[in-house]
């Protein structure tokens, strides 16, 4: 079945260093939609990025990701981490076949001064 893998459970970075959170997925469908959601403490999870177009970079709020269907990856990147980026990040997969979402286990990012 469909699944999403986020290898890193916890990431700690020093402010100013680049961020890269890994996301790989499995699906039998060619029309996959990939999402990154961010969950700040005491808030609701909310969308950060989404894409369904192969090899196209998508950007929002300083973060970017490119869907690579050949490697089934959708890694989240940012050039310079900020303290306010500390949060739980979820990668998610959906396809038009089932309309339901598969979330990875999440990566908790902590940015320290």
């Amino acid at each position: 079945g469909d699944s999403v893998t986020q290898k890193e459970g916890l990431v700690t970075l020093t402010e100013g260093l680049p961020v890269m959170l890994n996301c790989t997925y499995q699906t039998i469908y060619s029309n996959a939609f990939l999402f990154w959601y961010v969950h700040y403490l005491n808030e609701s999870p909310r969308l950060l990025l989404k894409s369904s177009t192969d090899n196209k970079r998508t950007e929002h709020q300083g973060f970017h990701a490119t869907l690579h269907k050949s490697s089934s990856s959708f890694h989240l990147q940012k050039s310079s981490a900020q303290l306010s980026d500390s949060a739980l990040y979820y990668c998610a997969l959906a396809n038009t076949g089932y309309q339901n979402f598969y979330f990875g286990k999440g990566t908790s990012l902590t940015v320290i001064p």
Binding site: S52, Y90, Q99
Partner: protein
Amino acid sequence: EAAVTQSPRNKVAVTGGKVTLSCNQTNNHNNMYWYRQDTGHGLRLIHYSYGAGSTEKGDIPDGYKASRPSQENFSLILELATPSQTSVYFCASGDRLGGSQDTQYFGPGTRLLVL
């Protein structure tokens, strides 16, 4: 901005008791979802719905029922609550994938403690 509300926000229940978690959305979204969030497991889909009257099983439906009596409301029911169902529950709504509203909009969450 899409609005999803959940009630109650916090709930303490006893083992074997019945618990109903409610979710309301005012955005006319077709799809609604119930997730639970646990450390080490992330967000896991329990039940979802394509519209009023429909419910579908997600990845972990055992021990849960769902009800979608209207476009706006989607409930999660624990008929016989167990301590393993202690968790944070999130409701979300969204529209058909590929549409302008296919983003999932999450509610504020319900913290459930089953003693």
